[in-house]
């Protein structure tokens, strides 16, 4: 177990992902959920973005807490203007790198 500490979490995550993917192919109750519930479920990916960013982006850089924050603001700005993911990411790495120097 301890030789490969990542193996179990990786496979647990894979199992969770596969379950939600396979479910609709074998069960059809998803089409008949109450309206409020299905609406909430569809909003989950958006709601997930908040906790995926905060407070991690501030805590990870400790005394340079602003470095990541300014980095992601640049990324968000570019991503809003252009429909791209990789350019904003590269830019935010550059900005954060310069702020950490």
């Amino acid at each position: 177990m301890n030789t490969f500490p990542f193996l179990t979490p990786i496979l647990i995550s894979a199992l969770a992902t596969f379950l939600v993917r396979a479910l609709p192919y074998y069960a059809s109750f998803l089409d008949r959920l109450p309206r409020f519930l299905s609406k909430s479920l569809r909003l989950l990916p958006i709601a997930a973005l908040g906790p995926l960013i905060f407070p991690g982006v501030i805590l990870d850089f400790q005394e340079h807490w602003y470095a990541g924050l300014i980095g992601i603001l640049c990324a968000a700005f570019i991503a809003y203007r252009k429909n791209s993911i990789i350019i904003p990411i590269l830019l935010s790495i550059l900005v954060t790198y310069l702020l950490l120097l």
Binding site: R21, P24, L41, L52, G56, I72, S92, I93
Partner: protein, 237 residues
């Protein structure tokens, strides 16, 4: 609109339509490879991660939780929830898929469902053939898996100062996704994210709750908030 009922969608057509997804996935997967390397994984573990999960934000979340030392139960539930959208996409895809696909073929096609694959596949009006979907998914999949390996290898030659800055990758990806969602769907997105971000920060910093549970609670609370405050006529999704 092409007269698609006249011919069956082919494997080759799937690969061609999958190519733009390949191009989009490759750099994102590179970022994931870098993150895995940061966490201290070996290259085969990073590749195995992408091979078995094949889920953009789900994988980043899982890596984040693993790095934070989350319990396996927290990991399982968080990943399940963040990937729950695949159930709805799968339900829609399954309705359009040609009949008579069973067993391991069906399981493999289900494993290939992603946001991008879904949005390309459902553009076709007629029944989606298994060959077409296999081509589409395989092309996207190869971009994701190979990108992970390349990202991991690139990480080995990065200077240490740059490696710390690379830690922002994950957050930059989520904030870019957020900006695009905001662009498409308006201020409702910011309100929902504001609620979940504030709640999560509060639970972690003030209540010292474990990150996995805090994530689950804030995400659920914010989506209920969103469902309550948006009217049904608003086409948020």
């Amino acid at each position: 609109m092409k007269p698609e009922t006249l011919h069956r969608l082919t494997f080759k057509q799937g690969c061609q339509e999958g190519f733009p997804i390949f191009v989009g996935y490759f750099p994102t997967a590179m970022a994931f490879g870098l993150v895995c390397r940061d966490l201290g994984m070996r290259i085969w573990e990073a590749v195995l991660f992408s091979v078995t999960n094949f889920a953009g934000s789900g994988q980043f979340l899982a890596a984040n939780l693993i790095g934070g030392g989350a319990l396996l139960a927290e990991l399982f539930i968080s990943v399940l929830l963040v990937n729950l959208r695949y159930s709805f996409m799968g339900a829609e895809l399954n309705r359009n898929l040609e009949k008579g696909i069973r067993g391991w073929r069906k399981a493999l096609l289900a494993h290939g469902t992603t946001d991008e694959v879904f949005s390309v596949a459902v553009l076709h009006r007629g029944p989606i053939s298994k060959e077409y979907l296999a081509g589409l998914e395989l092309t996207a999949y190869s971009g994701w898996v190979s990108g992970t390996a390349v990202g991991f290898l690139v990480g080995m030659i990065l200077p240490p100062a740059l490696q710390l800055a690379v830690g922002v990758t994950l957050y930059a990806m989520f904030s870019s996704l957020l900006a695009q969602e905001f662009h498409q769907k308006g201020f409702m997105v910011l309100a929902i994210v504001g609620v979940s971000a504030t709640l999560n920060s509060f639970l972690i910093l003030q209540c010292s709750l474990a990150i996995g549970w805090s994530f689950v609670i804030s995400m659920l609370a914010a989506s209920f908030f969103g469902a309550l405050t948006t009217s049904d006529s608003e086409e948020v999704l």
